[in-house]
C-alpha cells in the first residue's frame, strides 16, 4: 500500500511486476541452451541416430532421409516457430501503437522511465520481450549440430566413418557394420560433398544458389508490411539481404546434404507462415512493400 506522506516511497517510481510464468519460460530456454552446448556431442549423436534411423526406414536414401529429418525438426519446433511469429507480430504492432509512440516521445530524455513504461506496456498486453528471439535461439543447437551430424553420417572420409560408428554406438540402436558405407548419392549428387554442376565448362553451385534464392523468397514473404518510421523494419530488411548471401556462401563450402536441409527448411517455413495467414505475397512484387 502506498503512503504519499513517505517521501521516499512517493519519489520512487513503481517497478514493473515480473511475470513469473514468462520468467520461468525464459530461464527454461536458457537452461536448455546451456545444457545443449555443454553436451554438444550428445546433440550431434542424437541427430546422427535419428538421421540414420530414417535412412534405414526410407530404403537407404540419404537425400530423402535429410528431407524427412528437416520436416521432423520443423514439426517439433512448430509451436516455437508459431510463438516466434506471434512475438514478432506483437512487437511489430507495438511500433505503430499510439500509447507506445506517446511514451517514446514523452520520456525521450529519461531512459530509465522509458524502460519502466515499456515494461508496463509489455506486461499489460502480455508481451514477452524475448518472445520473438527465444524460440529462434532454442533452435540454434539443432542447426549447429546438424552440420557435423550430416558430415559424419555420410562418411565420405575415413575419420567421419569412425565418428559415425561412435555416434551410433553411443545409442546402440543400430547394426553399424551392416550400414556402412551409406549410400550418399541423391539425384546424382553426393550429399557428403559440396555440389558443383558443370555448365559450359564452368562449375556452378546450383544447390547453393537454390539455398540463396529460397532464403531470399522466404525472408521477403514473411516480412510484415514495413512502417517507414520503424527501425526494426530496417534491420529486418537488411537481414533479408544478408541471410541469403550468408547461407549461399555457407552452402558453397559445406556438404550438399546441408543445402538440402536449408532448401526444405525454407520451403516448410513458407508453408507454416502461409498456414498461419502471415505470408505477404505482395512483397515479392516490385513496389509491393507500399501496401
Amino acid at each position: 500500500m502506498k503512503n504519499p506522506s513517505n517521501p521516499t516511497q512517493a519519489q520512487r517510481p513503481e517497478l514493473p511486476q515480473v511475470n513469473p510464468r514468462e520468467t520461468l519460460k525464459t530461464l527454461a530456454v536458457i537452461a536448455v541452451l546451456v545444457l545443449a552446448f555443454m553436451n554438444f556431442s550428445s546433440v550431434i549423436d542424437l541427430l546422427v541416430n535419428i538421421l540414420i534411423l530414417i535412412y534405414q526406414f526410407v530404403g537407404h536414401n540419404f537425400g530423402i532421409a535429410i528431407i524427412l529429418l528437416t520436416a521432423l525438426i520443423r514439426l517439433a519446433t512448430w509451436p516455437l516457430n508459431a510463438q516466434q511469429m506471434k512475438g514478432a507480430k506483437a512487437m511489430q504492432d507495438l511500433q505503430t501503437d499510439k500509447e507506445w509512440m506517446a511514451i517514446q516521445k514523452k520520456y525521450a530524455k529519461d531512459r530509465e522511465k522509458l524502460a519502466q513504461e515499456q515494461m508496463r506496456i509489455y506486461r499489460e498486453r502480455g508481451i514477452n520481450v524475448f518472445g520473438s528471439c527465444l524460440p529462434m535461439l532454442i533452435q540454434f543447437p539443432i542447426l549447429f549440430a546438424l552440420i557435423p551430424a550430416i558430415t559424419y553420417a555420410i562418411g565420405s572420409y575415413p575419420l567421419s566413418i569412425l565418428k559415425l560408428s561412435k555416434s551410433l554406438a553411443a545409442f546402440g540402436l543400430q547394426d553399424v557394420a551392416a550400414l556402412i558405407p551409406l549410400n550418399s548419392k541423391f539425384l546424382g549428387i553426393d550429399m557428403g560433398l559440396p555440389e558443383r554442376t558443370l555448365i559450359f565448362g564452368v562449375s556452378v553451385p546450383i544447390l547453393a544458389l537454390i539455398v540463396g534464392l529460397t532464403t531470399f523468397i522466404q525472408t521477403k514473404l514473411t516480412m510484415p508490411p514495413a512502417n517507414p518510421n520503424d527501425q526494426s523494419a530496417a534491420t529486418g530488411k537488411m537481414m533479408g539481404y544478408y541471410m541469403p548471401i550468408m547461407l549461399f556462401m555457407f552452402s558453397i563450402n559445406y556438404a550438399s546434404g546441408l543445402s538440402v536441409y536449408f532448401v526444405i527448411s525454407n520451403v516448410l517455413s513458407i508453408v507454416q507462415y502461409a498456414m498461419m495467414g502471415k505470408v505477404n505475397w505482395r512483397n515479392l512484387l516490385p513496389g509491393g512493400k507500399k501496401t
Binding site: 565420405s156 572420409y157 575415413p158 569412425l162 558405407p181 548419392k185 558443383r196 562449375s203 553451385p205
Partner: protein, 380 residues
C-alpha cells in the same frame, strides 16, 4: 539499432565458430622414399629430409584457372607415391579430384618453401582420392572412390594424362564400389578391396575382373599376401578373411573383437593386424591359429602394425606408440602430446620410425630405436 546489429554479428560469428565443430574428417597420409618423408597433411604435402630433418619442399595444389565457386579446400590425405622415374604422385581428396605428379628436383616457384614443378596431372576421376596408387611396369593403377581403377601410362610424356584403361570394379546396377585402399599384385593379378564390402581380383593381362567376393562388412584397409600364399583382408564385420588368389574361394580365418580397419601386415608365417576396439593380433597363417591372445595397448587402432626388427609397433588413437614383443608383451614406446591422435600407419626409414599426428603441436615425429623423439616437424 546498434544493439541489433551487434546481436546479428554475434549470431553469425557464433554460427561460424560452431560450424567449425566438424573438425578433421581424415588423418594424414605418410610415406617415404628412403631418405625423404612425404606427409600429406590437410591442405599441403610436405617433403622432409630425414637426415637433416629440413623441409625440402611443399605442395598445396595448383590454383584453378577459373576459381569462382571452386572454394572447396584442398585436402591432401593420400600417402604420396614415388614412381620409378623419380616423380612423386600426389592426389587431392577434395571435390575437384585432381591427381598430380611433381618433380622433386625441379621447382616452379619459390615462395615460403620451394614448390616442385608439376610434370603431369590427371582429372578424369569422378570420386574422391582416398587410396594411394600402385606402379606396375611403367603403369600407374589409381583406385578411386567412383569404383574405377584408372590405369595411367607413366611413359607417354603427356602433361594431361588420359587413362589408357579404366577398370570398372563396381557391379552394374549397384552402388559404386568405393576404393579406399592401395591394391597389391602377385605379378599376374591385381587385388583390391572395396569399402562397399568386397574383395576383387583383376587379371593384369586382360584388365578384366577375375573374381569378386562380397562380404558382410566394409573393407577400408587393403589385402595382404600371407606366407601361406593366401590373401588376407579384415572387415568391419569383425572378421579376418582368407582368399585363394586364383579362384577367390574364401573362408573366415578369424573372428575379432572389433572392426578391422588397417591392412594386415605379413611377416613370414605371421600376420599382424589390429582392430578399432584397440586389440592387436598375431596370427600364424601356416598353422591357422593365434600366436598369442590379442593384447590391448590402450585405445582404438586404425593404423596397420609396423614390424621393425623383432618388435611390432602400433599407433593408437590416444597418441601412444606401443611396442609389442614377439611373445605378445606390450610396452609404451612413445607418447604423443596430450589429446594428440595417431591414426596413420607409422613408417620406417633411415633407422627412424616416423609417426604422423593429428591434433598435435607437431605433424610428424621421428623416433630412434629406443622410441625417443629425435626431431619433430610442424609444417615449417
Amino acid at each position: 539499432m546498434q544493439k541489433k546489429k551487434l546481436i546479428i554479428l554475434f549470431v553469425l560469428l557464433f554460427a561460424l565458430v560452431l560450424s567449425g565443430c566438424t573438425g578433421a574428417v581424415a588423418w594424414p597420409g605418410l610415406s617415404t622414399s628412403g631418405d625423404v618423408a612425404y606427409l600429406a597433411h590437410t591442405s599441403t604435402v610436405y617433403a622432409v629430409d630425414l637426415k637433416t630433418h629440413n623441409l625440402l619442399w611443399s605442395f598445396s595444389g595448383e590454383k584453378a584457372g577459373f576459381t569462382l565457386f571452386n572454394t572447396n579446400p584442398d585436402m591432401f590425405i593420400v600417402p604420396p607415391v614415388t614412381t620409378t622415374d623419380g616423380l612423386v604422385v600426389i592426389a587431392n581428396a577434395n571435390n575437384r579430384h585432381m591427381m598430380y605428379a611433381v618433380d622433386p628436383k625441379n621447382f616452379s616457384a619459390i615462395d615460403k618453401a620451394p614448390t616442385p614443378a608439376v610434370r603431369w596431372k590427371f582429372n578424369q576421376a569422378k570420386g574422391l582420392w582416398i587410396a594411394p596408387p600402385l606402379e606396375i611396369d611403367g603403369l600407374l593403377f589409381a583406385p578411386n572412390s567412383d569404383g574405377k581403377i584408372y590405369v595411367l601410362d607413366l611413359n607417354d610424356g603427356m602433361p594431361e594424362k588420359q587413362a589408357v584403361r579404366t577398370i570398372e570394379v563396381s557391379q552394374p546396377g549397384k552402388n559404386e564400389s568405393r576404393l579406399w585402399a592401395q591394391p597389391i599384385t602377385d605379378g599376374e593379378r591385381l587385388f583390391i578391396t572395396s569399402l562397399d564390402k568386397a574383395v576383387v581380383a583383376v587379371d593384369l593381362s586382360t584388365y578384366e575382373v577375375l573374381w569378386r567376393v562380397d562380404l558382410n562388412g566394409a573393407v577400408p584397409g587393403g589385402v595382404a599376401l600371407g606366407g601361406d600364399g593366401a590373401l588376407y583382408a579384415g572387415s568391419l564385420a569383425k572378421k579376418l578373411e582368407r582368399f585363394d588368389p586364383l579362384t577367390g574361394a574364401h573362408q573366415t580365418a578369424l573372428e575379432t573383437k572389433g572392426w578391422i580397419w588397417g591392412t594386415p601386415v605379413a611377416d613370414g608365417d605371421n600376420l599382424y593386424f589390429a582392430d578399432v576396439d584397440g586389440y592387436v593380433y598375431s596370427y600364424n597363417t601356416a598353422e591357422q591359429r593365434l600366436n598369442w591372445e590379442p593384447v590391448r595397448p590402450d585405445a582404438s587402432i586404425t593404423a596397420s602394425p609396423l614390424v621393425v626388427g623383432d618388435q611390432i609397433l602400433i599407433a593408437t588413437e590416444s597418441g601412444g606408440i606401443y611396442s609389442i614383443s614377439a611373445d605378445g608383451k606390450v610396452s609404451l614406446w612413445f607418447q604423443g602430446k596430450e589429446k594428440s591422435k595417431a591414426y596413420t600407419t607409422p613408417v620406417f626409414a633411415e633407422d627412424l620410425t616416423l609417426v604422423a599426428y593429428l591434433d598435435s603441436d607437431y605433424y610428424l615425429v621421428a623416433l630412434d630405436q629406443n622410441g625417443k623423439a629425435v626431431w619433430t616437424f610442424s609444417g615449417k
